[in-house]
């Protein structure tokens, strides 16, 4: 436990085994494992809205599974394209470091999320509205995404200095990840769990499209 926290501290400060300017000498699975642990912690907080019966406990469990699932599977879907684009831009030699930057960004996002978890819980306790809970979570995710971006940028800076094309890859990754992530998040609903609906892993309308939904919302159909 203590070791885990020390490593997390290193990641946040960008020192020790997580020093971006040095070649990484740590097992490759550290960063994904950090994403898994910390984001699932936030998921548990997120699902604890309306926690008043045993049935609602399932929502906590589902959300604790869903948040890491969202982050890691989205990455897995985008990675093949990331590798190929890096290759055609002539950045193949830095691929290891680029992938490390991507996962470091997500680990940063997860740690930030987990640290915001207690605040979410307090919000749930003080404001009962479901809509309020949704908006609050969006704000938390936005804040955590910013933190994750800062960590990712820290790893990307030396790469960009080496070759300007890394900047293109940084923004391509963010675009791709957001594009897939939004739809995946939509498919995995509910994360919070409205009190009017039974606890389920997927909603019945899970397999619809978030972008089409938003477009229709805007156009008023």
């Amino acid at each position: 436990m203590r070791v885990t926290l020390t490593h997390t501290d290193d990641l946040l400060h960008g020192i020790g085994r997580f020093d971006p300017s040095r070649r990484a000498d740590r097992p490759w699975w550290w960063l994904p494992a950090m994403v898994l642990c910390f984001s699932s912690l936030y998921g548990a907080f997120m699902g604890s809205f309306e926690f008043d019966s045993l049935e609602r406990f399932w929502q906590i469990l589902f959300s604790a599974v869903k948040v890491p699932l969202l982050l890691l599977v989205t990455s897995a879907i985008c990675l093949p394209a990331f590798v190929v684009f890096n290759t055609v831009l002539g950045l193949r030699r830095d691929l290891r470091e680029a992938i490390q930057a991507v996962f470091a960004g997500q680990a940063g996002l997860s740690v930030a999320l987990a640290s915001l978890g207690p605040i979410t819980r307090v919000w749930y306790s003080s404001v009962a509205s479901y809509r309020g809970a949704q908006l609050f979570n969006i704000a938390m995710f936005a804040a955590a995404a910013l933190a994750g971006h800062l960590v990712m940028l820290r790893y990307y800076r030396p790469l960009i200095r080496r070759h300007g094309a890394h900047r293109i890859m940084l923004y391509s990754w963010l675009t791709m990840y957001a594009f897939v992530g939004v739809q995946f998040g939509w498919t995995l609903r509910p994360f919070i769990g409205s009190r009017d609906m039974a606890v389920t892993f997927f909603r019945e309308d899970a397999f619809t499209n978030a972008y089409v939904f938003v477009l229709h919302l805007i156009l008023g159909h």
Binding site: C78, F85, V88, G90, R92, A165, A206, N209, L215
Partner: protein, 272 residues
Amino acid sequence: MRTWLTQVDDLLRGRKTGPELLTEGRVELPLRLFLPAAVVLGALYGFFMGWYAILTNEHPGGWMQLIASTVKMPALFLLTLAVTLPSLYVFSALIGGRLGFSATLRLLIGAIVVNVTVAASLGPILGFFTVSTTSYPFMIALNVALLAIAGFVGMVFLLRTLRRAVAPLLAYGDPVVEERAQTEDGAGETDHTREIGPLERPTRPLPRRAHWQARAIFSVWFVLYGLVGAQMGWLLRPFVGSPDLEFSWLRQREGSFFLALLRHLSDLLGGG
């Protein structure tokens, strides 16, 4: 299988089209490796594309659509090439490129392989949206967008490689020598002798004539291949398979590609 992957990987890394390899107006891309590569990688994208029919089509025949899409994707690229190759070669020779017929063919196959590899790497994204979406217009728009991205990379690859083939080597400089010079200045990182990627611009401007030639050949190819390709795609429909129609290998001949694109956009905006 392994050599096959290594060869494709080398092509993507620009090792097959480095400036030093193209000086003689020759292109060293063995067709017996790259032609199957184009077929397999194109089929991979088509495979992801065909999922949509299985998941949404209530008529039996979703599986047939999967097979049809898998076959049609590589067919689209290669048939278009087969139809346009003679004219592409003639125009490039008229403009004054140094590429012979065989080199032209190899270069174009190389560009197609790059194109379909990028498309195949976007396949998981397409597959994911297919599984989680029922909206037909959205899937059409997504396919167009992904193939446009892949096509763009293929085009840039073709343009840059053409420039290398037309221009003398010195415009690109020697990567190893330049890297060393940089390291001595203390600006570069050690142990990083970078490769020249296939999409890299020349370090020095090309001579005017070479620049103009490469651009002219590219423009003619772009227009010819693009127009024929769009219409070939129209001829080979359906690729995705509308949920309302029964499966058929080919649709009735009607309209043209450009009209259809406009109609799909209006469907997407009007609620589909």
